[in-house]
């Protein structure tokens, strides 16, 4: 979903880059460009719409071209705020970028509530999703065949999960592929041996989120950075943000956006002033 919508916006992004949207960050500016990660887009976009409604005459242009492209764009000054769903790499640390964490993306491994297994190691999760472990008894559960539920390739959650858990390995091709978080949750809720993964924000009592490496999947553990399958979503600016950029970033970090928009998009809010 995200990718499809964003593909169209790449064209917009390119236009903006060509138009040289960067420049002086004076307070009198009326428009701001935000570009980068497609994962961050749902938050940045809805926040932009609400920001524009609250500040008539101001324009926030949001586009998704990928995290690396966003970091490059903000470094070169072709946009005001770069967005990224990954941490800065060591070689990017010295570019003079200010990193503002705006939300947490955590992925929960979910099973049917009737499954007695309560936790797995990251290596076990990896083996399960590669198809190397095929029965719950191999990980201390009942003698029950594991029913793998995967997401489609367009899914940002799949991409993140693959990066967290599998590394360079491939998913088991015999896994069911479902085109939505809701479907994954519904199927896992109704099949005893099923295992799947969804954003932590969408976990509800119909499924059970497993602890990973002994760390329970909940907001506290994600918030203090110990839950392994999580990542921050970032806003990046060249130097300390000022003017319109600062106003927009403060707006995104405000409880109003953090508790509604961020949660609605399936992410978790960052602690107050998560810089």
């Amino acid at each position: 979903m995200r990718l499809r919508r964003n593909a169209a916006l790449v064209a917009v992004a390119i236009t903006l880059v060509l138009a040289g949207c960067g420049g002086s960050a004076s307070g009198s500016r009326t428009s701001l460009t935000v570009t980068g990660s497609t994962t961050v887009m749902p938050i940045a976009e809805v926040a932009a719409t609400e920001f524009e409604a609250a500040n008539p005459g101001k324009r926030i242009l949001v586009s998704g071209i990928g995290s690396s492209a966003g970091i490059e764009a903000v470094t070169k000054g072709t946009c005001d705020i770069g967005t990224s769903s990954r941490d800065l790499k060591p070689e990017e640390q010295s570019l003079g970028l200010v990193d503002i964490k705006i939300a947490l993306d955590a992925i929960a491994v979910i099973v049917n509530p009737s499954n007695p297994v309560t936790g797995l190691t990251k290596a076990q999760v990896s083996d399960i999703f590669q198809g190397k472990i095929k029965n719950w008894k191999e990980v201390g559960g009942p003698d029950l065949e594991i029913g793998l539920v995967n997401r489609d390739e367009a899914s940002g959650t799949r991409e993140a999960f693959s990066k967290f858990v599998l590394g360079t390995a491939d998913f088991d091709p015999t896994a069911a592929v479902l085109p939505g978080t809701g479907q994954v949750r519904a199927v896992v809720a109704q099949a005893a041996g099923a295992v799947g993964y969804i954003s932590l924000g969408f976990v509800d009592p119909s499924v059970k989120a497993l602890s990973i490496d002994g760390i329970p999947a909940n907001e506290t553990m994600v918030g203090n950075g110990t839950y392994p399958l999580s990542r921050y979503l970032h806003f990046l600016t060249k130097g300390q943000p000022t003017g319109l950029a600062k106003a927009y970033i403060d707006f995104v970090l405000s409880p109003k956006i953090q508790d509604s928009v961020v949660r609605d998009a399936g992410f978790l809010p960052v602690a107050e002033g998560g810089k």
């Binding site: 979903m1 990718l3 499809r4 593909a7 029950l144 065949e145 029913g147 539920v149 489609d152 390739e153 367009a154 091709p173 015999t174 896994a175 069911a176 592929v177 479902l178 085109p179 479907q183 519904a186 199927v187 109704q190 099949a191 005893a192 041996g193 099923a194």
Partner: protein
């Protein structure tokens, strides 16, 4: 058609205004002159209607031609790029990793179709026999609308029903996730019943009553009449019906995508997820780009050809049947 005659002249009706130019200018044979007693306005209206219908028919033909042209133009580069044999014969469909083999999908589509036919075919023919030979008029009035209603249910509703109701039951009874051939067969079997049943009933009804009477007169029972006389007599029509049912089963998309589970492998059991020719298009379309997108059009070409084979088969069989009688 040709045996409907104008009551006044006895001349076949379609002859009336086949060629407006010759009707106006050329010297007319006597029978045609008699027809010109109709007013000029009526004549023009008739001519206009004739052309209107011609346009309608042309739109249908143009639609098929345009779709075929478009799909062909979009899809042929993939055959050129990976080779016809690699495309049709490859077992790996991982377009993002440059594997464009659709044999897995072809096999899966065939498996889905054959199973659906094995379950739905007898069900549909049985329904048709019931409607045509067994049911009282009152029962027929209940059953036939029900069968026709099955045809009117949108396929996404079948899929939703399958996903929400049938799949959890299958998962509960047989283990696994409930996706797979078995669930797809159940859904498709019900979906092809109206197609096959309606056409089979027509075929049975077109068997002259004299044949039934002759059979009973020979002392045959109802069952013997149905099995030994009526079904063989209607066999061409029933085969046509079944081929149309096959077309419906192989082309079905929305219902299948919701209960098939969409794994890109030939399933090693009837309760394992699988992906078909139609569902891959729905599933991959949102993010397909470049060669991947072209390959999806290649899949569409294959579907188009399969459907052409079915239509051709029906025509050949019908002609063969006419030749026999």
């Amino acid at each position: 058609m040709s045996d409907s005659h104008d009551p006044r002249t006895g001349e076949p009706v379609p002859e009336m205004c086949t060629d407006p130019k010759s009707a106006e200018n050329a010297p007319r044979p006597p029978a045609r002159q008699a027809l010109m007693t109709i007013s000029k306005a009526t004549y023009l209206k008739e001519a206009a209607l004739k052309n209107l219908f011609l346009v309608c028919a042309c739109v249908a033909v143009a639609g098929v031609a345009l779709i075929f042209l478009f799909v062909g133009l979009e899809g042929w580069p993939i055959f050129a790029k990976v080779g016809v044999f690699n495309f049709l014969g490859g077992l790996k469909w991982y377009p993002t990793k440059q594997f464009f083999g659709i044999l897995t999908l072809i096999v899966n589509s065939m498996l889905a179709m054959i199973g659906a036919l094995a379950i739905g075919g007898p069900l549909a023919v049985g329904t048709a026999v019931f409607l045509s030979e067994v049911a009282t008029p009152r029962m027929r009035e209940i059953v036939r609308p029900a069968v026709e209603l099955l045809a009117g249910i949108p396929s996404v509703v079948y899929g939703f029903f399958g996903l929400v109701m049938l799949r959890p039951i299958v998962a509960h009874l047989f283990g696994g996730l409930g996706f797979g051939l078995f669930t797809v067969w159940m859904i498709l079997a019900v979906m092809i019943v109206p197609t096959i049943a309606t056409l089979t009933e027509d075929a049975l009804r077109s068997v002259p009553d004299g044949i039934r009477e002759a059979s009973y007169a020979m002392g045959a029972t109802k069952w013997q009449t149905i099995w030994r006389v009526l079904l063989p007599a209607a066999k061409i029509g029933i085969i046509d019906a079944i081929i149309l049912g096959m077309g419906r089963a192989i082309g079905e998309t929305m219902a299948v995508v919701m209960v098939a589970g969409n794994a890109r492998v030939i399933p090693d059991g009837i309760f394992k997820p699988f992906l078909t020719l139609t569902t891959v298009i729905v599933l991959d379309m949102p993010y397909a780009a470049g060669d991947h997108r072209t390959a999806l059009f290649g899949v569409a070409i294959v579907l188009f050809i399969i459907s052409m084979i079915f239509v051709a088969a029906i025509r050949v069989i019908s002609r063969f049947g006419k030749g026999m009688s």
